[in-house]
């Protein structure tokens, strides 16, 4: 992709995804100190603004985050209660401004464990999100379940179309 002709694509290009059999690693650098990225990740009102971006057309009905070791979270997507999909689990380890580890229990025994670390250097923060699944099959069956919610597709259309047009 030619960076010179596509601002959107280069922004997108800052998000890197790597995958092995049981593991997905997503990295991104933010031009801000770690405590601010952590704050945006752990405050329900802020989390709601980016976890379900309008550009993805996701409708996040409710967000309940109790970010502390042993705390729980629950996210509900959908247009209404009858057509909603919940994602939930608990926080295994929380080190403020540095690390959050949580389980993804909606997948039952095939659920993953997600670790996010925030590493600050020279005022920038390298965010690394690592999802580990119990097996390759579990990864392929479950990873990106939120991204596959049908309701998101319409507005993702617009996003991707604008990228393709660049």
């Amino acid at each position: 992709m030619n960076e010179a002709n596509s601002a959107d694509a280069s922004v997108q290009g800052r998000t890197k995804v790597e995958r092995s059999d049981r593991e997905i690693v997503v990295t991104r650098t933010f031009d801000a100190p770690a405590h601010l990225v952590y704050q945006a990740w752990t405050t329900s009102e802020l989390f709601k603004r980016w976890w379900a971006p309008r550009s993805l057309g996701m409708n996040l009905r409710s967000v309940d985050l109790d970010v502390r070791t042993g705390g729980t979270y629950r996210l509900e997507f959908g247009e209404d209660a009858a057509n909603s999909m919940a994602f939930f689990g608990n926080y295994v380890e929380v080190i403020p401004n540095s690390k959050i580890v949580w389980t993804n229990d909606e997948g039952g025994e095939e659920g993953s464990v997600t670790t996010v670390t925030f590493e600050e250097q020279d005022g920038q923060t390298l965010l690394t999100m690592r999802e580990v699944y119990p097996s390759k099959e579990a990864l392929e069956a479950n990873a990106g379940a939120e991204g596959a919610l049908p309701e998101q597709f319409d507005q993702l259309d617009e996003l991707l179309a604008s990228m393709a047009a660049d």
Partner: protein, 119 residues
């Protein structure tokens, strides 16, 4: 580990710019499927689904194989391509999400800086 180049992403974005095609890709990432099954699942005509699968096939995201009267669709071509196609899609979700996170973080940063200045 497979890592995806930007050029690779560029090639697949056009194919992925359609909701049905992303749905088909997500479906095929779980299991192979015939065109008629896909048409049923996405409430489309066989002809309409053939067109979508054709676009995905040209982008190298999907391969098809005709056995008898049934054309079976699979994600990707060889193993590596299937993985890359899957990562394309996964990254499009997280890229969009992290773009929004970046906006929130920049707002917090500006607020913090203006708070410091006013002290």
């Amino acid at each position: 580990m497979v890592q995806l180049s930007d050029a690779r992403l560029d090639a697949s974005f056009a194919a992925l710019s359609d909701a049905t095609r992303r749905g088909v890709l997500a479906q095929l990432s779980r299991s192979e499927s015939s065109i008629s099954d896909l048409a049923d699942r996405f409430h489309m005509t066989l002809t309409g689904m053939k067109k979508h699968v054709g676009v995905l096939e040209q982008a190298g995201l999907v391969t098809t194989e005709k056995v008898g009267r049934v054309r079976t669709c699979r994600i990707g071509g060889r193993g590596l391509e299937a993985e890359a196609a899957w990562i394309d899609w996964y990254r499009s979700v997280w890229g969009a999400r992290f773009d929004e996170l970046d906006k929130v973080v920049q707002e917090l940063k500006q607020k913090e800086q203006s708070d410091e200045r006013s002290k």
